[in-house]
Amino acid sequence: MKFIYKGVWVLCALLFTSQLFAAQMIMVRSTQSFPEAMLALQSAIKQQGYTVSRVQRVDIGLTNSGYQTDKYRVVFFGKAEEVHELTRKHPELLPYLPWKIVIFAEQDETLLASLDPESFNRFFPDDDLGASFERWRKDIYDILERVRSAEN
């Protein structure tokens, strides 16, 4: 069937792949245990003005197949209006929304990671998207920083 949106990206890909080596991931470690860090994350997301739309387990069945932890979640979040507005203007962004943060246990501590929205600039070269990516990046930093500095 018809494959659209293709040509434009080829050029961008050629121009930018060399830069993709850099860190494109925002990660923090919380010294809190998984359940505490999970609470801190959800409250930080709300404090930043977003709604947690879903907490998804991806690990159902993992423990059955020898995986030793089930403390692994994907937390989806967004702002309804922003999502509506952006996906109307930029439907190509749809598969990446709502935004997500993964959270998983590493022994007594907890790791959180999210893609860096700024890394999307290269493939969605649009001014108003650029502004959104920059804001998301700041928001994700703030959210994760709040989780990191949450007291035990």
Binding site: M1, K2, A13, A23, V74, P95, V102, L111, F123
Partner: protein, 350 residues
């Protein structure tokens, strides 16, 4: 000035004087906490990254090795290049890492001239099982906590341009002579190799430099961040088609929901944007063993959208996301997922 105020001022001055010299150290610690602790652990015990707080490690590497590793990273091996830090900041981080163990060794800078041919034979016999036939390193990330696997600590890629650029011959030699207590890397002197054997292996490892861009540092190239197909079916039929196609590729449908569900009042969702989530535990397991962060790809999802009377099905492009992880072992999984997404989108719209 009242005596109380004077006292306060003196205290303040004293405090300023006390804290000033400690500033640099504090900086290194803070920079480490922000940039490195997520992977290497607050105290350098390892995590997604390998352990750094190891006496044998610190005793065998010069500060220049730490500096260059931070600056250049290890392309394709998770360890990022910290191009955003200036030299002084990197030196502060190196200082902080040094505070965990012995000072840097004084290693001679002269290259080691061994017999690389003989070194290759020894490498195949003694090293390849862990470090890979071509020194490409073992799959996975630093230290395993929840993911059972053969090696408790990942064997670094020795053919990696980042490693080879940072590591002087004498450092590689030291590592082979002494091993690293607390890791699977043993002393090969104790394993019965001679110093001349070790020189030969070092020369062979150095020869990886001629490979010109090791396979482990290759990044996938994606033409587009999204895969999009147009459907000639109506919305509901397209959703059903997506589900059928995913099941046909051995996935389980785990959820179907509107994109803004959970963000808006129930009943007011935009019914023209629906997400179908599906997964395959074996794939998840395999991917998590390579990189615990791959949950960012999960669960698998196809979005069906109706806009201006046109129905489209879309997904992320795994090849586009792969380089963001800087983990070349993910490339195969991402190529595979790319093919699967393409097949599902195509079948659903056929």
């Amino acid at each position: 000035m009242k005596p109380g105020d004077r006292m306060r001022l003196i205290t303040l001055l004293a405090l300023t004087m006390l804290t000033a010299p400690a500033q640099a150290e504090f900086n290194g610690e803070q920079l480490y906490a922000r940039n490195c602790a997520a992977c290497h652990g607050m105290d350098g015990k390892g995590g997604v990254g390998v352990p750094l707080a190891l006496d044998d490690f610190l005793a065998s590497v010069p500060d220049s090795y730490l500096f260059k590793t931070i600056r250049n990273g290890r392309p394709g091996r998770v360890m990022p290049a910290f191009t955003n830090l200036d030299d002084e900041q990197i030196r502060a981080i190196v200082g902080h890492i040094r505070s965990w163990g012995p000072p840097q060794p004084s290693l001679s800078g002269s290259p080691i001239k061994g017999n690389a041919g003989h070194g290759k034979l020894l490498f195949d016999k003694h090293c390849a099982a862990c470090h890979g036939a071509n020194g490409e390193g073992s799959p996975g990330t630093g230290v395993t906590f929840s993911r059972p696997r053969d090696l408790p600590i990942l064997a670094p890629a020795l053919n990696n341009p980042g490693f080879l650029k940072a590591a002087p011959d004498q450092m590689i030699k030291q590592t082979l002579m002494n091993g690293r207590k607390g890791t699977p890397m043993v002393s090969f002197l104790e394993m019965g190799l001679s110093e001349s054997d070790i020189n030969d292996i070092v020369s062979y490892v150095r020869s990886f430099e001629n490979e010109n861009g090791a396979a482990t540092s290759i990044q996938l190239e994606a033409e587009t961040p999204v895969l999009v197909y147009e459907s000639s079916y109506d919305f509901a039929t397209t959703v059903e088609n997506v589900k059928k196609a995913a099941i046909g590729k051995n996935f389980r449908i785990i959820r179907e929901q509107y994109l803004d569900q959970g963000m808006v009042e129930p009943g007011t969702e935009n019914t023209g944007q629906k997400m179908v989530y599906f997964c395959n535990f074996q794939l998840i397991n395999e991917a998590l063993a390579i990189d615990p962060r791959v949950g960012l790809f999960m669960p698998c999802r196809v979005t069906v959208v109706e806009q201006d009377g046109v129905i489209k099905v879309m997904s992320i492009n795994p090849k586009y996301l792969s380089p963001l992880f800087n983990n070349s072992y993910l490339n195969r999984a991402c190529n595979e997922m790319y093919d699967i997404y393409e097949a599902i989108l195509e079948e659903a719209t056929l």
